[in-house]
């Protein structure tokens, strides 16, 4: 359920084949002869078997059983029921994840931008040290923290009341869709910011200096010079975040388990309360469709990026 795993798994296949192809080209004739080639296959085999056994097979099974009734026959009833009962939750899930991704984009560009263009050394160092912390905190721990932080009589409101910012009667609980968005953004921003800041740091600084010489302000340099150049990295980071947030159950379960809620909670409910794997898998199918769509963007992006290099 923690974030780094899926992103790592998804991030690697895109990067690995390319570097392999480049390095391996001269060595190929030697590799082709006899047992060396066999060793290569043998080395890959355990990993392939793992992927096939623990990923491809369950994925296929769940996709198939989304269209099977309890008696084993083919049916569309599961999908119909999933849409009938949970169409609002599907829209809610998509909206939450899209909104969170948008906020993550803004914040990570802001953080990366300040790290690249900021002039106050102390502030830059402090920010660089601080912003990665949420990366090391699992979603479920983040959700538990937010539960006491965002509650009506929680830490945040107590601070605001103590500071005289709001009146006690104005205190409202943020433990609904807003709490989910806050947790997602808090948790995913460092991940994207890390990627974006890295890309920004490796930019050719002469473009930035040139713009500065011509009198451009920092905001304008960020928006018109820096962001366009790191856009591929930003998009990839956002897509990986999107897919990760789509798969999180702990956060909506702990902060906003009531309707409308995210479809991960509905899937767990169908299985736990009704033993109904059919509708749960149909909901899973909808989830793949959402992830698949952005996955398609990712691949298209990756291919185009690779072609340009």
């Amino acid at each position: 359920m923690s974030a780094p795993l899926p992103t790592e798994a998804a991030g690697r296949p895109a990067a690995l084949p390319r570097s392999r192809g480049g390095d391996g080209a001269p060595a190929l004739p030697a590799a082709r002869t006899g047992p060396d080639w066999l060793w290569g296959v043998l080395l890959v085999l355990p990993a392939l078997a793992m992927v096939a056994l623990f990923f491809l097979y369950p994925l296929g099974l769940s996709a198939v059983s989304a269209f099977q009734g309890r008696d084993g026959g083919w049916t569309l009833a599961n999908v119909v029921k999933a849409f009938e009962l949970y169409s609002l939750d599907m829209a809610f899930t998509l909206a939450i994840v899209l909104l969170s991704s948008a906020l993550v984009a803004v914040l990570s560009v802001a953080i990366g931008g300040y790290l690249t263009l900021g002039e106050n050394r102390v502030a830059v160092t402090l920010l660089r040290w601080l912003y990665r912390w949420p990366l090391f905190i699992p979603f479920i721990v983040a959700a538990q923290m937010m539960r006491s932080f965002l509650a009506k009589n929680g830490l945040m409101n107590n601070l605001l009341i103590g500071g005289g910012v709001i009146e006690p009667l104005q205190a409202a609980s943020l433990l609904d869709w807003r709490g989910v968005v806050v947790t997602f953004v808090w948790k995913q921003t460092p991940f994207v910011a890390l990627m974006v800041a890295g890309a920004m740091a490796s930019l050719d600084r002469s473009t930035i200096e040139a713009a500065r010489d011509l009198g451009a302000g920092r905001l304008r340099i960020l928006a018109e010079i820096v962001v366009p150049q790191v856009r591929p990295t930003l998009v990839v980071g956002l897509i990986l975040s999107f897919v990760t947030m789509l798969s999180v159950m702990s956060v909506p379960m702990m902060i906003n388990p009531n309707s409308p809620t995210m479809i991960t909670v509905d899937m767990a409910y169908r299985i736990n309360a009704h033993g109904d794997y059919g509708v749960a898998n149909a909901l899973g199918f909808v989830s793949y469709a959402m992830a698949g769509l952005v996955g398609w963007f990712y691949l298209r992006h990756g291919v185009r990026q690779g072609g340009a290099r």
Binding site: L85, S87, N256, P257, N258, T261, A268
Partner: protein, 387 residues
């Protein structure tokens, strides 16, 4: 570099040794009695802290290993899935000896012949005569289960904020309209106290409520059920939805809500532990709110049938029911009250009925609807109220 590798190797070896040690450790005792229990954490605590030490002291060489599978029907579902997987794999012995399950799953497991009919073989088998010892939401379970305890859902309220608590579901709806956001419950995905509140609402607003309890099941009731729940959508707009059974009590305690449905035993236990304001009170509203027993069951191919029967015999004995179930964990006894009351002092017995009197419990404590209707009510809620 080599140092790092050596370290990794050592760490790996240590990890393996630890894992092997852990898995081997319980085997040292002659018999390991595995108890799986569905339900909230207090159920696991009860077995681990109270029942297991007692049983181990009486039966040297037997070690009790208890594990919880989670709250609500989902917890029972996990036990069912484990056993049905072992059955499907053709295992000669199943590695669960005693299962503590909810009514809905008990019915299903009896129908699928996954439980052993042990009640005739234990001395305490005749002590539970209440209807729920024989009938689990419409399925005849006679001989397969003994109730561990009964529990009841009621409204908890803060008497400082609510001077005259509502007495029926209709009065509650009026009260909520006048006091928006002061009533909180946990929907149907966050535990059984919210589920019970919803089935109680359905029974209160449907023409033929006894049909939901007694059957027979008829799918043609679906439109009537949807109609009965139609008022809940409006009702939900003026309530606070809480995160879980514990969430309702937490919010009540923090003053964020003034009233909400809770499990009576959890309410008393939290007060006893100092986690809930002792001034809070309970009100069982009409026409009725549901309650349920948890059942002790022995899987059909449990490896240690003999020890399992002994364990349940101890757990359903009047002494343990009095001291463990009633006195320490604030549940209503599973076996008949006539056998339990003499083992307790009058004060402890009275504490059980402080807010909810015995006659109220008899008239307003209802069973959950038949499992077919139960599913229909849950889906009607999702279709008309939540969506």
């Amino acid at each position: 570099m080599t140092l790092v590798k050596l370290r990794t190797l050592l760490a790996g070896a240590a990890g393996l040794a630890l894992a092997a040690g852990l898995s081997a450790a319980p085997l040292k005792a002659e018999t390991v009695l595995t108890v799986l229990t569905a339900g909230d954490q207090n159920m696991v605590d009860y077995v681990n802290e109270y029942l297991a030490p007692k049983f181990e002291a009486q039966n040297p060489g037997v070690k009790v290993r208890a594990a919880g599978t989670g709250p609500g029907d989902g917890g029972s579902q996990k036990i069912y899935e484990k056993l049905s997987a072992e059955a499907a794999a053709g295992a000669a012995k199943w590695d669960v000896d005693v299962a503590v399950i909810h009514q809905k799953m008990a019915g299903q497991m009896v129908q699928e012949k996954m439980l052993s009919a042990y009640v005739g073989d234990v001395k305490t088998g005749t002590l539970a005569s209440r209807d729920s010892a024989r009938n689990a939401l419409g399925t005849d379970v006679t001989g397969y289960v003994l109730p561990m305890f009964h529990s009841q859902i009621a409204l908890a309220y803060n008497p400082e904020l609510v001077k005259a608590p509502p007495k029926t579901y209709a009065e509650l709806a009026e009260w909520v309209k006048a006091n928006p956001k002061s009533f909180g419950y946990n929907g149907i995905k966050g535990g059984m106290s919210g589920v019970g509140f919803v089935t109680g609402w359905a029974a209160a607003n449907i023409g033929d409520a006894t049909r939901l309890e007694k059957g027979p099941y008829d799918a043609a009731m679906k439109p009537a059920i949807e109609k009965a729940l139609s008022g809940l959508k409006e009702f939900n707009k003026s309530v606070t939805l809480t995160p879980g059974n514990a969430g309702t009590l937490d919010m009540l305690n923090r003053g964020e809500i003034a009233m909400g449905p809770v499990w009576v035993d959890m309410f008393y236990s939290w007060q006893a532990d100092g986690r809930l304001n002792p001034a809070m009170k309970l009100q069982l509203i009409g026409p009725g709110m549901p309650g349920q027993p948890m059942y002790y069951a022995v899987p059909a191919k449990a490896a240690n049938q003999e020890a399992a029967r002994k364990f349940i015999e101890l757990a359903t004995s009047p002494e343990v029911q009095a001291d463990g179930i009633v006195k320490r964990f604030n549940w209503y006894p599973g076996i008949d009250a006539t056998y339990v009351q003499p083992k307790l002092d009058a004060q402890t017995w009275a504490k059980l009925f402080t807010d909810v009197k015995p006659d109220e419990l008899a008239s307003k404590g209802k069973p959950f609807p038949l499992s077919g209707y139960f599913t229909d009510i849950m889906e009607a809620y999702e279709r008309t109220v939540a969506n």
